[in-house]
């Protein structure tokens, strides 16, 4: 049904374009006007909490849901009206959905058989896929005779067997325990990259998204909050939502006092000093209210009062969470606000501040971010 088309990803630089997709169930808006461009070879993660609409978006790509409006253009063709079994897209399900009455081999061959491929070719392809996921020895096994990690490899092989233009992963590590998860994340990425297939995955686990994907979109309440590389999203969140979604943040609400071309100064009642950033905020709008954000690992703790008049505060150590590689200090400021700060445990038995000790927390001028509330 799908005519073999010339690869047209060069036309406007995007292999998969999602254009103004809207999906509602009765009165509930699940996906609200989402647009995304995904380049060929990308591993793209949709990251969001449950109910954020990420799974609905994935199911619309697969064809199990039909959007109310919008377009999905894959390799130059609008696929919205195509039934799932006519899309050049394959999916690895969260539960893997391996057919329990078929062997590993038969599972992998299933999609190829639907295309009426000659038997010999199917057999070759199956062997090739089994080799790709290192499951040659298990070809004759039934799914219930496999461990969790093995099932995932078979599921991946099955969804790659038809050489889809787009691979979808639904919570790829959802069915695995934590230890296995870390190993399989890298293994799955290796396999996907060796095949070179474009991939969209859905996950609620930020670590998983950052490990596996080279581009991430954060979804909340049916909309995209921000999309970009993992580093962009972590280091330069464009909104409070994005900043709070990934990692942890210390936030100070305040108002802009000085708004120069190359720096800005912020007044906040939540801290005893002014806050300073070494870039212009350039607020044309009247509303001067902003949120100053700084990540815990970008702050330092000292027993001596820092120099200068900006970007430091005083408090007592309220709590210490020792995590091995680093410790998370909870510092209680004079006004009761709790600040988080990481301290790297580079020495085995260093003389570090302890409970109820008076300390100063400070950070450099380029560590902070100014966000709109």
């Amino acid at each position: 049904m799908i005519e073999p088309s010339l690869s047209r990803d060069g036309v406007d630089g995007h292999f998969l374009q999602i254009k103004s997709i809207v999906k509602t169930y009765d009165d509930v808006v699940a996906v609200n006007d989402v647009s995304l461009d995904i380049a060929k070879g990308d591993i793209f993660a949709l990251l969001g909490a449950s109910g954020s609409g990420k799974s609905t978006l994935l199911r619309m790509l697969a064809g199990f849901e039909t959007p109310n409006s919008g377009k999905i253009i894959l390799d130059g063709e609008d696929i919205v009206s195509l039934a799932p079994y006519r899309r050049p897209i394959n999916m690895m399900f969260q539960s893997y959905a391996l057919f329990p009455h078929m062997t590993v081999e038969q599972n992998i061959a299933y999609g190829l058989k639907q295309d009426r491929m000659p038997k010999a070719m199917i057999a070759d392809k199956v062997v090739q896929m089994l080799r790709l996921v290192h499951m040659e020895k298990y070809a004759k096994r039934k799914p219930e005779q496999l461990s969790g990690g093995q099932r995932q490899r078979v599921a991946l092989a099955r969804s790659l067997a038809k050489s889809p233009k787009l691979l979808l992963l639904d919570e790829p590590m959802g069915a695995l325990d934590k230890k296995l998860r870390n190993r399989m994340q890298l293994e799955v990425v290796d396999i996907i990259e060796s095949v070179g297939v474009t991939c969209v995955m859905v996950t609620h686990d930020q670590e998983e998204a950052m490990t596996m994907a080279n581009r991430i979109a954060i979804m909340e309440e049916g909309s995209i909050v921000q999309s970009g590389t993992p580093r962009d999203i972590y280091e330069a969140p464009n909104s409070l939502q994005a900043a709070e979604f990934i990692g942890s943040m210390n936030l100070f609400r305040g108002a802009i006092a000085v708004d120069a071309e190359d720096h800005a100064v912020i007044d906040s009642e939540e801290i005893n000093n002014q806050l300073y950033v070494s870039y212009g905020v350039t607020t044309a709008i009247e509303d001067k209210h902003v949120v100053f954000a700084v990540r815990p690992e970008k702050t330092l703790i000292s027993r001596d009062q820092p120099q200068g008049e900006y970007n430091w505060c005083r408090g007592v150590v309220h709590d210490i969470a020792y995590l091995g590689g680093h410790s998370v200090y909870h510092i209680r400021l004079d006004n009761g606000k709790i600040l988080y700060s990481f301290m790297v445990n580079s020495d085995r038995f260093a003389d570090q501040p302890t409970w109820e000790e008076l300390v100063y927390v400070y950070w450099s001028d380029d560590s902070g971010l100014v966000l709109r509330p």
Binding site: M1, S81, L82, A83, R86
Partner: protein, 304 residues
């Protein structure tokens, strides 16, 4: 391309309609429609004819003549025999439902608490008798309960009694037979319900100091309400119309509506009267059936 998919969609809609229509029409035609005919014939008069009743609608002088006959119902209300039969049937159904619950609940509880692999075996043991012939299992009780049957022989040999007890052809025999035949129908829904219970609930309540009986009454029993309703309806409703067991074990002494209906139909060939009896029974059972249906629907929607 678009045309193809649209045609496919129409195709799918068409297919869906058939999937719904075939079983619905079958059940409408062979289960629901017959009740309308029962309704019709309940208002007809018995006649010596083939079929043995008068027509409700007749063509006379190019006009329809509607002939509704209330005689059957008047007759039923005048003879105390029928009222007694209905009351007996309801009483019998209620008592045997209670007995089934009394015996079935601990049995279901025991199965639900066993190891999962054991559960399968125990369930099979409960179900196995009901896969053999129901008729033959009732028949077995004739040989046991007769005055010179196995039970009396055993009791006399043990010296418990010196005169054979008369059990067969009494209500006691009917109760034994009904409980025996319908026990699995009580146990299954109870088990299905009890096995879903989170055992930690009971452990929690015991942790909080509740005695076993208390935690049973306050937690397990109320939680298993749906199972109790389902099991009770599965026993009560069919037992109201039971014919075979009272016929074989109750003898001439047992006056129940199933038997009366059978006799009116087969022995007296009074089809309209039998229809009226069935109609009244149906009206009596409407409420419990509705109850059962609602429960079923709830179970169906659950976990979907």
């Amino acid at each position: 391309m678009k045309k193809v998919t649209e045609r496919l969609k129409r195709h799918a809609e068409h297919g869906k309609r058939w999937v719904i229509a075939v079983p619905t029409l079958w059940l409408m035609l062979f289960f629901a429609l017959p009740f309308l005919i029962v309704l019709k014939i309940a208002f007809a008069e018995s006649a010596i004819a083939i079929p043995p009743y008068t027509q409700l609608l007749t063509m006379a002088d190019e006009a329809f003549d509607l002939h509704v006959y209330f005689g059957n119902f008047i007759f039923l209300s005048e003879d105390a025999l029928y009222l007694t039969a209905y009351l007996n049937s309801l009483k019998m159904a209620a008592i045997s439902t209670f007995l089934c619950l009394l015996i079935g609940y601990p049995m279901a509880y025991h199965i639900a608490r066993a190891k999962p692999s054991t559960q399968t075996v125990l369930l099979l043991l409960i179900l196995l008798p009901s896969w053999t012939s129901f008729l033959i299992r009732i028949y077995a009780w004739i040989g046991i309960l007769k005055s010179n049957g196995i039970l009396n022989n055993a009791l006399m040999w043990l010296g418990v009694v010196d005169q054979p007890l008369t059990i067969l052809n009494t209500n006691v025999a009917v109760y034994i037979g009904i409980v025996y035949a319908y026990l699995p129908f009580m146990i299954l829904p109870l088990y299905a319900n009890l096995v879903k219970h989170d055992h930690s609930l009971i452990e929690a309540s015991q942790d909080l100091g509740a005695r076993w009986l208390q935690s049973f009454w306050r937690i397990t029993f109320p939680l298993s309400r749906n199972g109790i309703i389902a099991g009770s309806m599965l026993v009560f409703i069919p037992v109201v119309g039971e014919y075979v067991i009272p016929e074989l074990l109750g003898g001439t002494n047992s006056l129940v509506i199933g038997k009366v209906l059978w006799q009116e139909f087969f022995n007296n060939r009074d089809w309209p009267l039998a229809s009226s009896l069935a109609l009244i029974m149906l009206l009596l059972l409407m409420l419990p059936i509705h109850f059962f249906r609602k429960y079923q629907e709830k179970e169906w929607e659950e976990g979907k």
